[in-house]
């Protein structure tokens, strides 16, 4: 029973990591209607920026905010410089560029900061207000931050004019443009915000798994799995999906399949969901008029 409880809580803690990255994946999907394979590496790169600022002696929260600003501008620049010119190109061209960005960010981070692991500080206190060896203060904080981010994103897309305009621009660019929404600006904004969410995720993940250029490799796969399970159109679904992946992975690894097949498990879940419920558990079924 102890083991079960420990594995479940541990799964929730890892799940929070997957959920925060899944949120970033959904964010960009809302804006551009594509999966961004470079999302993980962008987040890793942002985290390195924050690490560098802290290493130079900046206090944590100052570095945190500057890193978010940098990520926002960086994300917009990527859209403006790289994706705007190929906006009407087939989807395969976009995928090739996503992969290229992945490799570029990975190699660049390795070149600048090398491949040894770095310690990244946690913003949360060293001790929980209550005694427990079941969950650490950082894990507890990450779950909280993920839920707060989810809340903000929900409010943003549901109630703010900019959020609504962004959804409109992604869902139906032509009509959106006709009612006076600048689709171009919305796309840039979507990239910027997705980069910000990714940066927050990166800074929450790094204290747990250590910062290095390949940090996001496995996590992105689980993040994708979480996003697909929950539904790519639903931020709430992505978070639930992320938590679900973390817990299921731990329990399946402990009691059923053994730790060797944990990653395989995530991939099987992706395939199964796409086969039987392509929109995900909470996703909107997109109906296309032909």
């Amino acid at each position: 029973m102890d083991l079960f409880l420990q594995q479940t809580l541990d799964g929730l803690a890892t799940g929070a990591i997957y959920a925060s990255l899944a949120l970033a994946v959904v964010m960009i999907y809302q804006a551009i209607d594509h999966f961004n394979f470079a999302q993980g590496e962008m987040a890793m790169f942002s985290t390195f920026i924050a690490w560098q600022l802290i290493a130079w002696g900046m206090p944590y929260w100052a570095a945190f905010l500057i890193c978010l600003a940098f990520s926002f501008i960086g994300g917009m620049l990527i859209e403006r410089v790289i994706f705007a010119p190929i906006h009407d190109a087939p989807v395969l061209s976009h995928i090739v560029i996503f992969i290229a960005l992945t490799l570029i960010f990975n190699a660049l981070a390795g070149f600048v900061w090398d491949f040894t692991i770095k310690e990244f500080p946690s913003p949360f206190p060293d001790k929980l207000p209550f005694e427990s060896t079941l969950i650490g203060p950082h894990e507890f904080g990450v779950v909280g931050i993920t839920l707060v981010m989810l809340g903000l994103i929900y409010v943003f897309f549901r109630f703010t004019p900019v959020g609504l305009a962004m959804r409109a621009a992604a869902a139906n660019p032509v009509s959106a443009a006709l009612v006076g929404i600048s689709v171009k600006r919305m796309l840039g904004l979507g990239w910027g915000l997705a980069a910000v969410v990714g940066a927050v995720a990166g800074m929450m993940i790094a204290p747990k798994v250590y910062l290095e250029p390949n940090m996001m490799l496995g996590i992105l796969l689980y993040g994708f799995a979480g996003a697909v399970v929950g539904g790519l159109t639903s931020p709430g679904g992505a978070v639930v999906g992320g938590f679900l992946m973390g817990v299921l992975e731990n329990l399946a690894g402990t009691y059923i399949i053994g730790s060797e097949l944990k990653l395989t498990f995530a991939l099987v879940v992706i395939v199964a969901v796409l086969l039987f419920k392509p929109a995900g558990l909470f996703g909107r079924v997109v109906v296309m008029r032909v």
Partner: protein, 402 residues
Amino acid sequence: MKLRLMSTVAVAAMALGAGPALAANAPGVTDTEIKIGNTNPYSGPASSYGTIGKSISACWDSINAGGGVNGRKIKWISYDDGYSPPKTKEQIRKLIERDEVAFTFQTLGTPTNSAVHKYMNKKKVPHLFVATGATKWGQPSKFPWTIGWQPNYQTVGAIFGNYILQNHPNAKVAIINQNDDYGKDYVIGMKQEMGDKFDKLVVKQETYEVTDPTIDSQIVGLANSGADVFVNISIPKFAAQAIKKMAAIGWKPVHLLNDVAASIKSTYTPAGLENSKGIISVDFYKDPNDPEWKDDAETKAWHAFMDKYYPDGDKANKFNAYGWAVCHTMKAVLEQAGDNLSRENIMKEAANLKQVHVPMLLPGMAVDTSPTDFYPLEQMQMMRFDGSRNVRFGPLISAETE
């Protein structure tokens, strides 16, 4: 026509009679130079190892400045393979077929060397002292042209097994290992040493994949098994995660950590020095930063070498001492071969090192090979981390690999 044929035969006979009956020197060997080929990961995910190639290059510079080996200067040609096996294959072909090196030395990495293992043996080019701890480099009957250098992973596994039997004969042992050849080699070594005790003492074994984001779940499972000895076979990133998680859940077994991750800089510091206290590991060469060697002549010579020939190199990085030691092993082989520098003879001498001491090995250690023993280093000493340094304890332990 007839006459010309005669004269050719005569010249050939004279040539044969002139020198001693030796095989011709290897390609890349002249009266003034020996060309040595190498691949190293100067870029890519394993580029932290690249400093080994650079320190060896600096080592040859220092040897050349002293007149070279038997009057011949060493020409070191080292290419970047980015730790990518197909690239290694391409670079090795270039070294042997275009640059015409005499042999290769210290090519780095298990997957990368595996990619050229057959090629080197088919071409009959010495594939010397490869920089990997896998066990498969010591098969003289099957691969007579390939030889390793550092104590192999099975040796370390056997030393851990021996330590458990001697000190904790009734232990409950938990193991985590990376799920590949490297991780499995250690477990094989442990099994060989412990025999049927292995199944009796080991209560739980877990594995992880390099792509796993964390190994927290595995650590929780192992802690829950009630084990009081933990054998940790992981690379620095996961070793640090394990140490941190163990502290968080309050699991305090006797912790045996593989040499691959027993680094203060790359594992213990990120994991927390306090959390890492008491971890036991093994080593075979001196850590030049350890105060124990402050007045040691070999260490001082190494510091002087670094200052003069590799000023950009990081003196805090142990790999640079490794490069110095392995370079002197190569030098010993070439000295032994003298002027008989055929590929056959270079290989023969590499497998004929009798208790050769090279600088920076731990006191009492020596390189030893024979035509049937392609494992040059088979001794190690245990050490325990005291919160600031790794303190060696006990005698040198030998573990011969079968």
